[in-house]
Subunit: 498 residues, 2 copies
């Protein structure tokens, strides 16, 4: 087989759901990650990095909608036969890290992490099998002050990267309220046998924003056939149960206090409900004290978050400006991240409760959002100043020009290809070069260099036809003594900024 592979040419292609990320997106995402990282550090979090894959049993299986074993993750076998999986989020590795280093850690342990995660799921438009996340988590405290703080962090992070108040909203709920409503509806959330029904109900609620209330009612009841004819099995609830749940998820209001007052009568009959209400009230108090009012953080009883491991407050950051959907219709941009409290994840390893809460941003979604807002290009690179190679015998001189410019902090390169003048100019154009540096025989004899302003040049003429025309370009080019090269290039760049 090795022989055959050697003779046959491999095809240059990527597996489905994987993609390359070009310079603009890379730099924009780096900029976002840097900014969100600095905000996280300001909030007291410390960075941590964990490996891309770990033992499969250590990562566990908490992906939504993944009923088959091993569905959703990429797994590989180690030499000794043990199975390892690529991380599908940054929370499972954190739980492993905390459990492995529990005694040495200062608690509450507050860490942020950014990295790529992998999901072995069906890719679709804008939906990849590899994507980058940014997480912040606080481990080792049951206080919802930690949850409130993550909502503040999420809010400040979004504003720092250019998504202003009004263009986003952080929605907060509490799984305890959802459990209370389920109990009111006669579904015991603790009962093992009821787990599938409970999950079906939570998933149905999770689809409220996307599909609307009628579809959710069907998903809570007999099930639903979508436009393509696919049938989703329902939770099989009765009308009375459905009414109760729909009444709850629809009870949100503009103010946090008003929402809490509307929810209270629906859930305060049982203990989980009272606990959940009290936790949300405390979060409301802390958010208000820190200056985060309902224009930034609201309470929304319809927020579920897909992941199975949440046990208390859950939150979601949603972008609220209009954008054009794949079908050409206006739509809301939707979720760019979220999180919640997961008091059981570290317990899996330790056997004792280690309360924790975390927040996760999807960076590709955030980049898409910034692009829609026209703010993704702030990090775009200006092309390099290209030193043309007019005469290969003097390549050392051209190299020195490029290095002089670099030493002055200017982005620059000597043309490294082997083509002639016209191709070199085309290269400079394609690279977005602000100007080129030219020294032909004539300039050399005078100890000069010519700087050709490509921005001004394009404006003046359009197409450059030949050498003579260049030299007569007037304003678009200037000749200066070699020693004035850096200064003259600086002037050209400055003129282009104005």
């Amino acid at each position: 087989m090795a022989k055959k592979a050697k003779s046959a040419r491999p095809k240059a292609r990527l597996p489905k759901g994987l993609r390359d990320v070009g310079a603009d997106e890379f730099r924009a995402v780096e900029g976002m990650v840097g900014a969100i990282g600095r905000v996280s550090e300001k909030y007291g979090f410390e960075p941590l990095e964990t490996p891309a894959f770990e033992y499969s049993d250590a990562l566990g299986k908490f992906l939504p909608d993944a009923d088959r074993p091993n569905a959703g993750v990429f797994s590989l076998e180690d030499d000794d036969g043990q199975w390892m999986s690529l991380r599908y989020d940054l929370t499972a590795p954190l739980a492993r890290y905390v459990a492995a280093n529990y005694d040495a850690l200062t608690k509450p342990f507050r860490r942020y992490q950014t990295g790529v995660v992998w999901r072995n799921e069906k890719p679709g438009p804008g939906r990849y099998r590899e994507f980058r996340q940014f997480d912040a988590d606080t481990v080792g405290t049951a206080s919802v002050a930690a949850d409130a703080e993550l909502c503040m962090l999420a809010s400040e992070a979004l504003e720092t990267i250019g998504i202003d108040t009004g263009n986003y909203i952080i929605r907060v709920n509490n799984r305890k309220l959802l459990d209370a409503v389920l109990q009111q509806a006669g579904i015991d959330p603790q009962d093992e046998a009821e787990q599938i029904k409970r999950l079906t109900v939570l998933r149905a609620i999770d689809k409220l924003e996307r599909l609307g209330p009628q579809a959710v009612e069907l998903l809570l009841g007999p099930g639903r056939k979508d436009a393509s004819g696919d049938v989703t099995k329902g939770a099989g609830l009765e009308a009375k149960q459905i009414d109760l749940i729909m009444g709850f998820v629809g009870a949100g209001s503009d103010g946090r206090t008003k929402t809490l007052a509307a929810l209270a009568p629906l859930v305060e009959q049982n203990e989980a409900g009272r606990e959940g209400l009290q936790e949300l009230a405390q979060m409301d108090e802390l958010l208000s004290a820190a200056g985060f009012d309902a224009t930034r953080v609201v309470i929304d009883p319809a927020i579920v978050r897909g992941l199975d491991y949440y046990t208390g407050p859950v939150f979601e950051a949603e972008l609220t400006f209009e954008s054009v959907g794949e079908d050409g219709a206006d739509r809301q941009f939707g979720s760019v991240g979220g999180g919640g409290r997961y008091d059981g994840l570290v317990e899996r390893f330790k056997g004792v409760k280690v309360p924790a809460t975390g927040y996760s941003f999807g960076l590709s979604r955030l980049y898409a959002a910034l692009s829609e807002l026209g703010r993704a290009d702030v990090g775009s690179l200006v092309g390099p100043v290209i030193v043309l190679v007019m005469d290969r015998d003097h390549i050392g001189t051209y190299q020195r020009f490029a290095m002089d410019l670099r030493q002055a902090g200017l982005r620059s390169e000597m043309y490294l290809g082997e083509s002639g003048m016209r191709a070199q100019m085309k290269y400079a154009d394609k690279r977005g070069a602000p100007c080129v540096v030219i020294q032909g025989e004539e300039e050399r004899s005078r100890g000069e260099v010519t700087i050709k302003d490509l921005v001004e040049g394009t404006r003046l003429s359009g197409e450059i036809e030949d050498n003579t025309e260049w030299r007569e370009g007037g304003r678009a080019q200037i000749a200066v003594p070699e020693a004035k090269l850096v200064e003259a290039v600086r002037e050209v760049l400055a003129r282009q900024q104005t």
Copy 2:
């Protein structure tokens, strides 16, 4: 099995050869990557990101010392039965990228990339199965100006991150010279049947620095038994052949011109040798023109680089300062990266020659080097200012204090745990907090906050015993009106800087 996994507790551990990276190393590496990225951009390179894994046949197999198929890489099977592998370097993905996007790319194509790579090899001390690299490559030109520029980039990158001239050296060689010497010794480098002998010779030379000339002579000849009793098979050359090769690899000299002059008579009899010499001479000219003399870049005929795909100039960055090895003995720090020309990698896909050259830094090695030089901690975070929670009924006020400090750009957090005063002070100490903010009943009644300087406090007392003692701490703590909190904390921080 799913049932069983649920009941048994997983063990919190990592597979061999994988590790977590803590805050200090993470920040230091981020700082390095940022700095090297900016230097690369200044040199005209653009960032690119490719996925962590690709089709195995697209990545190919070019690892050194990996004779078994699939040895060295981690592979996983896609749903449709196709094999994919985690990238083992950043060059193979680049070749796939260039081949897949060839017509759309502006050539020469100059990209930098940083990312984690994986090698399924036996881990050892300081040798992991996951590590991070930084690469810069120029694709689409045969001009050794591109190779010379990569040596300049490597040199400037090292100096930018704090490794000064004299603490490192870039060593350059040319595979064509090595081929010429092999030919002189009667081994045809083009002959398929001689490939194993050729590789054995190259690997032997590659070990010159580590094992010394005597060991290399054995590896070129009958083979060698090391201290542990392991036997490495030799290339089986005769004494005359060995002399020829040892004469060549030992012909290096201080100056580049002198080295070239010493090498010329050994290789100029054949065409590869003449080409190789001429290429090195041109690199020397360009390096000199750009101001990179032999204190930064030398020519060294013993440089091989392990990877199989190099076809022309090869380079290696070596740190030259003394450090203490694992055995406690002084040693040179050694290689932190390298690269070379690989004119055949894109050809694998395209069937036409696409000349290319690249440079790669090992970032973990660089971090270790900076640590040895005492320069790795420049990015260390100062601990956050901790707002103590003296009275849970006033948690909103404490939260506001923390937020006021953050809004002033100061790193701060309210204590999020549920422990008492002493534990909170211990937490602040462990987090490296510069100071804590305290408001008990007394301060509140006066509308004041107390700021306790932990740096000064530690200096003055050592151990804090009780509340009363704090309040009498004198210089180590000050009480100010609430409105002066930010200002007063700023003053404490400023005093600590001096």
